[in-house]
Amino acid sequence: MTRPVIISHEMDATWRYASGVAMERFANNLLERRIEAMQCGECKRRYLPPRPFCGNCRVPLTDWAPVASEGVLEAWTVVYLPIVDNRTGITRDGPYAMGLIRLDGADTTLNHYVAETDPACLKVGQRVKAVWREELRGAIDDILHFEVLE
């Protein structure tokens, strides 16, 4: 077989995403190290990330409720492969730990980084606490990661 001809195109696309009202307030709260969830008026479920609508009850969300920057590690993993941050193109090398964290006062869990990368030191049910960036930017990675409290 002859060698195939390979034609390359590099994709360089830019999109501007409007945050929406809910995420805008959430992001502004982060600038003051404050975390607020949205609460459904029907099922009372407190949602993080905030969004315009409770998909379960099919009603708009308008109410806010404060939640703590501490909570429970409901799930965890240590990832050994690198991951690219699609916003910046910067690669996060492995190993790094991820968790699903239920902040005190919230009903959904948040996916976020955990500082501990030794699997022997991570377990479901542990208490964790947010570690904030010094210069806040109003984005979810103003929380650098969560650290294990126990």
Binding site: I7, M11, A13, R51, C54
Partner: protein
Amino acid sequence: MTSASTPVAIAGWGQTGPLAEDLRSIPEMVLDAVQATLRNAAMGYEDIDAVVTASVDVFDGMTASNIAVTEVVGAVMKPETRIAADGLCAAIHAACQIRAGAYDTVLVVAHAKPSMSDFYELTKWALDPIFLQSLGIDFLTFAGLQAAAMAAEDKDAVERWAGLAACRLADASGDGKSPGSTEILQSALVTTPLREKMCAPLADGACACVLRRGDDSSPGRKEIRLSGLGHDLAANFIGDRELTESAGLERAAARAYADAGIKQPEDEIDVAEPSVAFAHEEELFVQSAGISDNTIISPHGGLFAGNVPIVAGLSRLTAAAEYLRRNNDLRAVAHGSWGPAGQGQAMVVLENAIP
């Protein structure tokens, strides 16, 4: 391909936009359109059995972009099908689901926000990467090539299109004011021979409608039915297509007419809502869909009020339904188109009906 099948009615519709730039997020826009639709249909989310959405990942800048709207369209724990093509295809598929007896009531939703990006730049990624993409051309280039082909042996074409654009812009403005032909002919050249004001302005928006079984409505109640469905995908390579006509639209229209039992479209269509993104496409539409001078075309200016890609065809369906709701005994066609020089075509026939 006539199918003696369950009639499909359009029960309500709504939209948000078109706006040159909608500062809201996609889920916020879609929520607005869906709520307007449910109000219009006098229904709630609980009345909806299934959802068909239309969006394109590259345009939304999001993989599986319907994830962003699953909640607001009410698809949590429900069936949702996402069609990555013009929204009229989503409506055709929803009508198929109802005819099949799979669902009784289906919500159809389309959205796009071209203000998020350089839309035509993104359309380059829809061209084959081996030959066409390497040329650096986009969908605008194709519109220009098609218009140029049509104008080549038709000296008056460009002036005529300027007149058409003036007419549609006036209808779209609401107050009848629009630039005159001369101003249009002096507007910036976008792609020869098309000038800026001959191109429907890109806009952000979302549109939705509810389709439902038409055979269980109360007797004597007026309703609007989707009586003919047709879509088509033409050959991709433009060298394989005769650009001065739209064989794809001819096929899509023939299928929709056969489905609706229309034998002479020139006499049987009262209103047409074509997807005309560039003025020359209206002439292609009239010719390929077999429409005569007796048909009212784009009474509110069609896409010249704002061309929202992907939403366009669905918004034509709801515009046609709106017209029929205000009248009796009429038949309309709605048209959608996608791809370079209208490679994809869709046509739906709507009519006033009394069960």
